[in-house]
Amino acid sequence: MATLQLREAIRDAMVEEMDRDSNVFLMGEEVADYNGAYKVSEGMLERFGERRVIDTPISENGFAGLGLGAAMNGLRPIIEFMTWNFAFVAMDQIVNNAAKIRYMSGGQFSFPIVFRGPNGAAGQLAATHNTTVEALYSCFPGLKVISVSNPDDAKGLLKSAIRDNDPVVFLESEFMYGMRGEVSEAEDYLISMGQARIAQEGDAVTIIGHNKSYWRALEAAAMLADDGYQAEVIDPRTIRPFDWEAVIRSVKKTNRCVVVDESNPFASVAAEVAFQIQHRAFDWLDAPVRRVTAKDTPAPYARNLMDHYLPGAEDVYRACREVMYL
């Protein structure tokens, strides 16, 4: 095991896959010369040269589409969005072209492409720079969506995503780029999509959280442990496909569930998870599924408002106690 920052684990995944397959290349704003706006691609230009590590103008729609064309014609692009907030101008390329052309062509053209970048709350940047997009992309069949919470998962899942022949939306986090964690040094470390990680076993309540919300889930679990309750904490890791079995198995054991999701609440991933649980484990539920999300407002700038906006560990803890009728 090596101790790596999240950004390093992501970089290692890219570097290894680029070493392995000369058709893999990286393109995005400031990824080359500047070494990445968040230093994720540091050193990659030097290592792979201008042909394979490519800076773009600020043209998200253009270079997302360029990536798709390259993928259709035999390459395996990694397209970095400086943040996913800026991908709304490219949304058409992702949800209409990436997600649907394979289908419309009767399977003739596929899209081995990864769109990646940080997503979700990123501090006091106000409303347009704090959008959480999991649900927006996961609802489109044709896409796969991954959202990682730690360096090890990031490495194993990104390597799988790059090798996958379908388009993958890969969601990271500015806040977590510097976070360190143990990362497997296995030769070819691949984690399959669609497999949740049971981070902590327990029987009192199931807490589900991905990306930063995973850490809120763990913090709440620690608070519950202080109260003498053992929560089961699940990081779904991939949102599409979602590991329903793992979640349902857990809820059938704990009989209650709280979903933590940094997104605005309406039609969020949390809503889908709640739908599935009540549908598949109705008779096992002792309490309604609760969710803890960002407020139903745009993200504010002021520090106190922004703190208030985001779901905190304390909120998760309270929600857990509620579903436990404590």
């Binding site: 058709n23 270079f63 589409g65 360029l66 798709l68 035999g74 390459l75 390329q93 289908y103 062509s105």
Partner: protein, 374 residues
């Protein structure tokens, strides 16, 4: 080849007086030059075309025409549904460019008015008609319909329904040609209406910046649905659009297959040397935008004037005037084409509907993807 000449000189000269003083701004002069391929200028020998080529060109243009005439009829019979956008009138563009390309090496992508190009690239009437019928043997297995013809084998990258969205994709196809060094170029066809999508601007800048082997061909058929070019374009001379990206631009006559072919030869040659370019081809669609469009935005006189320069009749006259073919030979070709099209209708009608389970196929390459079933 005539890449755009672009000179930039600062010349001090009075250019501004707003009453406040006599001190004025300088003026910077820029001169641009675009190639123009007028109709009637080129003969087949100028293009290196053999008589056999001419026969195939003629047959191909007729095939597109007859195929679509029959499609329209089948639409009336409700064998075909959804949108059906006919290419009739524009056949010189598809055929003329096919003869400037290296088929099987070069790549082609277009918008939803895609039947003509598909047939020009050698896709069979059968697979095309079956697609229109929504059948298993369609070129997209019945999943795409009229707007979404595809052929991996012919390097036809589709058939795309979102106006403008395929333009950056074209840049990417060209990017892959360059990256792989396989010598191929990509031709991206787009309508005059697509020029005003941001995607066009972004793709052209990227193509020029990365020196991609791509040709952006604007099929200017004068209308985007009911909107004429001058009602959508601040400057209707679309061939000038490349100038902002230091990209050579040219204008060709889409009613003359030789004008198109020659322009495309030049532009394909540029692309092979790594220079992207823009080519506006002026043409005209005879039919409505789609089957439901009565075309009230134009006069019959306007329509007729264009029908008078019909690209197929024009080629026919050329072939006869030059005494390259006897009228009987051309008539036989027409009969053969009609038969081919009729057979394709039969083929399509006999092709099975896709099985219902196929709804889950082709979403992902992954075979066991766990779809949400509720």
């Amino acid at each position: 080849m005539a890449p755009m000449i672009d000179t930039l000189d600062a010349v001090t000269q009075p250019a501004s007086t707003n009453g406040q003083s006599s001190v004025s701004a300088d003026s910077i002069k820029v001169s641009l030059s675009f190639s123009h391929y007028p109709g009637g200028r080129f003969a087949h020998v100028d293009l290196g075309l053999s008589v056999a080529d001419l026969e195939e060109m003629y047959r191909n243009m007729l095939l597109q025409r007859r195929f679509e005439e029959r499609s329209a009829q089948m639409y009336g019979k409700q064998k075909i549904a959804g949108f059906l956008h006919l290419y009739i009138g524009q056949e010189a563009i598809s055929t003329g460019s096919a003869y400037a390309l290296e088929l099987g090496v070069d790549s082609v992508i277009t918008a939803y008015r895609d039947h003509g190009l598909a047939l020009a690239l050698g896709m069979s009437s059968n697979e095309c008609m079956a697609e229109l019928f929504g059948r298993q043997d369609g070129c997209s297995k019945g999943k795409g319909g009229s707007m979404h013809f595809f052929s991996r084998e012919k390097r036809f990258f589709g058939g795309h329904g979102i106006v403008g969205a395929h333009i950056p994709v074209a840049a990417g196809i060209a990017f892959a040609h360059k990256y792989k060094g396989d010598g191929g170029v990509c031709v991206c066809y787009l309508g005059d209406g697509a020029v005003w999508q941001g995607a066009f601007h972004e793709a052209l800048n990227l193509a020029s910046l990365y020196e991609l082997p791509v040709i952006f061909v604007i099929e200017n058929n004068q209308y985007a649905m009911g909107t004429s070019v001058d009602r959508s374009a601040a400057d209707p001379n679309l061939f000038k659009q490349g100038a902002s990206y230091a990209m050579p631009g040219a204008l060709a006559d889409g009613m003359d297959v030789f004008s198109v072919c020659r322009a495309m030869q030049d532009h394909v040659a540029m692309a092979r040397e790594g220079h992207p370019s823009l080519l506006e081809i002026r043409t005209y669609r005879y039919r409505g935008h789609s089957m439901s469009d009565p075309g009230k935005y134009r006069t019959k006189a306007e329509l007729d004037s264009h029908k008078n320069e019909d690209p197929i009749l024009r080629l026919k006259s050329y072939l006869l005037e030059q005494e390259l073919f006897a009228i009987e030979t051309l008539d036989v070709i027409d009969e053969e084409v009609k038969t081919e099209v009729l057979e394709s209708v039969e083929f399509a009608d006999n092709s099975p509907l896709p099985p219902l389970e196929a709804i889950y196929d082709d979403v992902y390459t992954q075979q066991d993807f766990p779809f949400l079933l509720i």
